[in-house]
């Protein structure tokens, strides 16, 4: 299988208020993830797990090195090109859900489809299909505040998969959930991977990492 995600000699340095306060999070980091692979990223706090996810998702840029995702060299793209690229290739799931409070579950899921110029009926169909996959069709009209943590996380996953991206990036998707809900989420992720999606998941949880086909450990800074 071909490589979906490829990082070559990637370094990321965060600079503090003073030039002396530099924190090197990733140094000459290499990673290859094949199409359809489910990779768990583990490591202690501050080892660069979330930074790695942000670099692969085009939310941040490396100081040096190459990030190639779905045959696109991200370091050469402008912020506008990165936004278009994200809309078509990547689905994000955040630890803190990051749903928009004023919108219903269905409207949150529908948001990425607004970028695809689809007719309303088609958007509604795809939204319903995504909510069906995560088992939340009956909660479609509820706002995030009326949903449990696990349900909000599932809405986040539905939003990530609704536009059928090739790559799913998840930051601690089971971090705030009880064991049973976490198992449901991991089963859903395995199901999505079996459908051909490439999944990159940051986690602290050994049990969650066991759901992946491979685990990459990042060292402490």
């Amino acid at each position: 299988m071909g490589s979906m995600i490829s990082l070559r000699k990637v370094s990321k340095i965060y600079r503090g208020a003073h030039s002396a306060n530099k924190v090197s999070v990733l140094t000459d980091f290499d990673l290859d993830v094949d199409v359809g692979e489910f990779v768990a990223i583990m490591g202690p706090s501050g080892s660069g797990k979330t930074t790695l996810l942000n670099l692969v998702g085009g939310l941040d840029t490396p100081n040096t090195g190459q990030v190639v995702v779905a045959d696109n060299h991200l370091e050469g793209l402008s912020s506008r090109e990165l936004a278009i690229w994200r809309a078509h290739h990547v689905g994000f799931v955040f630890q803190s859900h990051n749903l928009i409070r004023i919108l219903s579950a269905a409207e949150n899921v529908e948001l990425p489809l607004l970028l695809k110029s689809l007719p309303h009926k088609e958007r509604a169909r795809l939204t319903q299909e995504a909510l069906r996959q995560v088992g939340l069709v009956e909660r479609a009209a509820h706002r995030p505040g009326a949903l449990s943590g696990g349900q909000q996380q599932r809405v986040g996953i539905a939003r990530a998969i609704v536009s059928d991206p090739a790559v799913l990036l998840l930051d601690e998707p089971t971090g705030n959930l009880d064991r049973s809900t976490a198992e449901d989420i991991l089963a859903l992720l395995r199901h999505l991977q079996s459908g051909g999606r490439t999944v990159l998941m940051v986690t602290h949880d050994q049990d969650a990492a066991r759901a992946a086909t491979r685990t990459v450990h990042l060292g402490a800074v």
Partner: protein
Amino acid sequence: MNTIRPGWLLLPMASLHCRPRQARLICASALVGFCLFGLTQGLKFSLKGLSRGGGHFSPLDALTTLVVSLGLLTMLFLTSTAISQSVRNDIGDLAILKALGFSSSRIIFSVFLEAALPGLLGAVLGLCLSHPTAVYLLHLLSRGHVLPSPHIGLGQLGLALALTTLILLAGVLLPALRIIRMNVATALSGQP
């Protein structure tokens, strides 16, 4: 499964939450600013009719220009503050939209749209209110003299609409810079 709201409304809602307090402030400042604009234009027309002729730039012109400028500058300040505050409060939601793939220009347009609707509404209401106010003031000032009725021409209405748009565009300028320069990863992590 029901998606009640049409798609075109979702982005402005998601970006600024249709904050009623900010909308009211923008609408009220536009109303006062353009009521003042219409009032001074109407009064100037009537009082010039009384003096018949006069210089090219009379003290009356200077006074009305000063009053209108101050009113519109206040409107600009209030509009810009209201939009900036909304954007600052909702920077996390704007970061979500950027992470999902919405471009800065699209988000800025929706922010502008949300300020433009109450702004234009306030300006139109202000102009409508200015005519009866000008008639009443003239009635108080005239003391038996017959003055021409206040009148606002099409040119002045066009100028008012152009000024509203310019003020709203200028009001969105600073928040737009903030949206363009936003680091999505930092904003999503909740750091200032």
